[in-house]
């Protein structure tokens, strides 16, 4: 070693020693590290949790940040929103919800003392249902659900131009404008049932079973079979050999199969759609088969012994997307009430299952009344032509009537209104200019609404040709890439759809808390449903020198519940309902049902009243009934006998009396809340009817019972005031020219006043 080299080494040694001495005073900062996190299994819309693997060996505080495609994702209210999902963070614990169902990588960076390290959260597999992103009723992002498609627009342009109306440019401009306007007005993000919040609470409908009482149920459908309870469905057709298979043999669509998919199409199986309660069991009964059915079917579809449903089984709901549409008031039947209340009173070990009933599709009108509601102004005013209470099964709390709302949160064009409506649920319009439901359909393109034999497809093809039809129903017409086997439809609608969506929510509620009774479920729905269409306006009619509010819009009752005859307590909110169910602490106590209380012919042993309802008079006939029972109301029933000598099958001059058309009824509770039972301009076209006695000629209402849910939570005690009105001096020429069930050409103002013969009320409460 030479001298110079020794000197350099010595200096280096001193320097090293010197630096070592510095470390003791100010330790070197160690950079943080980050490792990749792998999530191998996730479900779309269901939270998955994990831990971010950031570390700093010298204990510096860690902060995390996220990027997507190089751009920083900022947190808003604690939520990081990616194009594929939502992430929340607490310390190093994260919760991620995939909104799109895609496998993905999330870039994250850990920072400690201004030093950083990066890694990824790898979500390698997300179970999904490919059509769920179009199911706006579950999670409304403003998706079109195959309505308002480019194919549809072009088809309309081609058709119109083909008819010689305008040029291609003119029609393109017209339809571009129309479709753009409709996209703004019809597709409103957020107008849904908030099911993702229920899933986020870990509730997907497991442990309960819904019964689909309908036209059939395709038990081997690819998206239903995993939820169908084996060998428990009933084929009610007499002489059938496949007694546990209610699969419909029709080839143009099976209503029940589509209904079942809305309740409980299997979730996260990477097939088709998702039910509201994707893990709820299904039993089908083909009550509406249209064939010759077996004896005692009416009892079987209500779960009576012999139906195979045990009294302790966790049946959540009997979905009943059916009813009768006829322009008369059908009288109440105690026998029917006894049958229909069986699920509520005896199943689930006495806790009760829910009957979930479609409210009807006759807001605009039915058929046998012809053009009545076009000509009497109901359609233009926005008054319901039929009232839900025309069907006696909707006049007691044991059936829960469900109304229908659109993808923009407003009333559908068809959903029958009435004070009997409990809640509403999405269903949509017709799937062309506005979304309908995307749900299961009979399998293959040979059967079902989608496919060659679907009744709409077949009729349109015959009328317009296949090319135009394919453009108007792109998803249902064979060949759509999202529906290659035609196992799904995008045009299902009606309160038929609203009811199963509500049944799905009921199933989630009872899955969340099996201790709840049927009355608890009603209470939860009343307390948690969304006040949709908040600006819905009242309709006021001028009657003589006065006026009458025929539709009230939203009314807040004295117990704080918002109610609307179009929507009941509003659109069901699965998230809020499940949250309340999980921590439910309300004690409703024993149900009390009072005796009928009132006067006249509807009270046993009393003689009929004879009180005129003055014609075209806003004051009307006011009757009061004093209630002494101290009950909190769960439902109020009102019963009437109202006669008119001319109420028959038409007058001698070929018209019908206006006695039914003009009748309106408004009830005021002791707390001052008003509820309109009949608005007038409703389709009381025929004389009253009874399922046991037939026609009651001379009566507008006979043993007619109305349910009002509007007083929920109020006290029944005090003075009830009932105002009966003849709401007009009505003389109408019917534009149908006599093409109605009575073959009458007009409505003539009632020559005699209608007469109140009996009036009473009954309280369901606690």
């Amino acid at each position: 070693m030479n001298k110079k080299m020794f000197t350099l080494s010595a200096i280096q040694a001193v320097l090293v020693l010197s630096l070592a001495g510095c470390d003791d005073d100010a330790p070197k900062d160690i950079e943080p590290t980050a490792e990749n996190v792998v999530i191998n299994s996730a479900k779309q819309w269901v939270p998955v949790t994990g831990t971010l693997l950031g570390e700093d060996l010298d204990g510096d505080a860690l902060t995390y940040s996220f990027t997507e495609d190089g751009a920083t994702i900022a947190s808003s209210n604690g939520i990081y929103t990616f194009s594929h999902g939502l992430l929340t963070l607490s310390g190093d614990q994260f919760s991620y919800i995939s909104t799109t169902g895609e496998a993905t990588s999330i870039d994250y960076t850990v920072t400690a003392n201004d030093k950083t390290a990066s890694a990824v959260i790898d979500i390698t597999e997300v179970a999904t249902d490919p059509l769920a992103v179009q199911q706006w009723h579950l999670r409304n992002t403003g998706q079109k659900a195959y309505s308002l498609s480019d194919e549809m627009k072009q088809g309309l342009i081609d058709l119109t131009v083909g008819y010689g109306n305008g040029t291609e440019e003119e029609q393109t401009a017209y339809y571009d404008t129309l479709f753009a306007e409709l996209e703004l007005s019809e597709l409103v993000a957020g107008e849904d049932m908030n099911v993702t919040a229920a899933y986020a609470l870990g509730v997907t409908g497991e442990g309960v079973t819904a019964v689909v009482v309908d036209s059939g149920l395709e038990i081997n459908h690819e998206d239903l079979t995993d939820n169908v309870v084996p060998n428990r469905s009933l084929n009610l057709i007499d002489g059938s050999t496949q007694v546990t298979d209610p699969t419909s043999t029709d080839n143009d669509g099976d209503h029940g199969t589509s209904v079942a998919g809305l309740i409980a199409a299997k979730g996260w199986n990477d097939i088709g759609t998702r039910g509201v309660a994707p893990d709820t069991g299904l039993i089908g009964m083909n009550y509406l088969s249209g064939e010759t059915n077996i004896e005692q079917e009416e009892l079987l579809v209500h779960g009576f012994p012999g139906s195979g449903i045990s009294e302790s089984e966790e049946i959540s709901a009997f979905n009943r997307s059916y009813g009768i549409t006829f322009p008369t008031y059908i009288g109440y039947s105690v026998l029917d009430e006894t049958i229909e209340s069986y699920p509520n009173l005896y199943l689930r070990s006495g806790k009760g299952a829910l009957n979930v009933k479609s409210s009807g599709n006759s807001f605009g009108g039915g058929s046998s009344e012809g053009s009545l509601c076009e000509d009497n102004g109901a359609n233009d005013l926005g008054l319901t032509c039929y009232n839900g209470a025309f069907e006696p099964s909707q006049a007691h709390p044991y059936y829960m009537s469900i109304a229908a709302v659109n993808a923009n949160g407003t009333h559908t064009s068809y959903s029958t209104a009435g004070a009997n409506v409990m809640v509403s649920a999405p269903s949509g319009e017709y799937g062309r200019y506005s979304p309908a439901m995307v749900t299961t359909d009979q399998m293959t393109c040979i059967n079902g609404y989608s496919g060659f034999n679907g009744s709409t497809i077949a009729a349109w093809s015959a009328a317009y040709g296949e090319e135009f039809t394919a453009s108007q129903f792109p998803f249902n017409y064979p060949g759509h890439e999202d529906n290659a086997s035609c196992n799904y439809t995008s045009t299902f609608n009606g309160t038929s759809s609203a009811a199963p969506n509500a049944s799905g929510v009921v199933s989630l509620i009872l899955s969340a808390n099996t201790d709840l009774t049927w009355r608890d479920v009603r209470h939860i729905l009343a307390a948690t449903s969304t006040k949709n269409d908040a600006e819905d306006e009242a309709v006021e009619l001028t009657i003589g020198d006065g006026s009458f509010v025929a539709h009230q819009g939203w009314v807040e009752n004295a117990a704080g519940y918002n109610f609307n005859n179009l929507y009941g307590f509003g659109r069901v909110d699965a998230g809020a309902a499940v949250e309340m169910a999980k921590s439910y602490a309300v004690d409703l106590g024993e149900q009390t049902i009072t005796d009928w209380q009132g006067m006249g012919s509807v009270i046993d042993g009393e003689t009929a009243l004879s009180l005129d309802i003055p014609d075209n008079d806003a004051t009307g006939l006011v009757q009061t009934i004093e209630v002494t029972d101290e009950l909190t109301i769960e439902g109020m029933q009102f019963k009437f006998d109202i006669s008119n000598v001319d109420m028959g099958f038409g007058l001698a001059d070929g018209t019908q009396t206006s006695a039914g058309n003009d009748l309106a009824i408004e009830v005021t509770s002791p707390a001052g809340t008003k509820s309109v039972l009949l608005s007038s301009k409703q389709a009381l076209f025929y004389p009253a009817y009874s399922f046991t006695e037939g026609w009651h000629v001379g009566y507008v209402l006979k043993e007619a019972v109305f349910l009002s849910n509007a007083f929920y939570g109020e006290s029944a005690q005090g003075t009830w005031s009932i105002r009966l009105l003849d709401a007009g001096e009505t003389n109408i020429t019917l534009s149908d020219g006599g093409a109605n069930g009575l073959a009458v050409t007009g409505i003539s103002n009632n020559a005699s006043d209608s007469v109140l013969e009996g009036i009473s009320l009954r309280t369901f409460g606690h």
Binding site: T292, G323, T325, G366, Y430, N493, G494, Y689
Partner: protein, 181 residues
């Protein structure tokens, strides 16, 4: 009927060129919104309960029904016209009746569903009506009675109502009055 509506729409499109979306959508009928169509005046008087007996009709398997005689087909079974010589004097299981509200034809099962008055047994009522007990659901006071072999259901039903032992009763048929909505 649906076809006619569609043709009407097509005509409207031809004439107006720019049909409004809302009008089109409201007019087009989709299967899920169909309701039973009532085409005639339904002022038929009931012969018993809400039904009118159609003695000149019977139910036969569709496979053997003569096309000329079929009034309505109900899947594997059809309601057919029969000649007067085949008419039974007794109304009972299998008899065809017409509902006075819907005008639709259906078949009697021979049963009556009853809501018993409190304290009345199904046997007591059956005896009074000349019927037999099929089922009793005691917690609900509901019982199913059937007309005895060879006995007339109309007569038995009158007896049942006259007995005053039932709060309410309903003739059982093989199809529901309800339809999808």
């Amino acid at each position: 009927m649906k076809f006619n509506k569609i043709v009407t729409i097509a005509t409207a499109l031809c004439l107006s060129g720019l049909a409004q979306a809302s009008i089109i959508d409201k007019t087009l009928i989709t299967p899920t919104l169909e309701t039973k169509k009532i085409s005639t005046v339904n002022n038929t008087s009931a012969e018993f309960s809400t039904y009118k007996v159609e003695p000149l009709m019977a139910t036969v398997p569709s496979a053997i029904a003569s096309a000329d005689s079929v009034v309505v087909s109900k899947g594997t079974m059809s309601i057919v016209n029969i000649d007067a010589a085949s008419v039974s004097d007794v109304v009972g299981k299998g008899s065809i009746v017409r509902h006075t509200l819907t005008n639709e034809l259906t078949t009697l099962t021979g049963n009556v569903t009853v809501l018993l008055n409190n304290g009345v047994s199904a046997d007591e009522l059956a005896t009074a009506a000349g019927m037999e007990v099929v089922s009793v659901f005691s917690r609900t006071n509901i019982a199913i009675l059937k007309v005895s072999e060879g006995k007339d259901l109309v007569e038995a039903y009158k007896n049942l109502q006259a007995s005053g032992l039932a709060a309410e009763s309903k003739i059982e048929v093989t199809s529901t009055i309800y339809s999808a909505q």
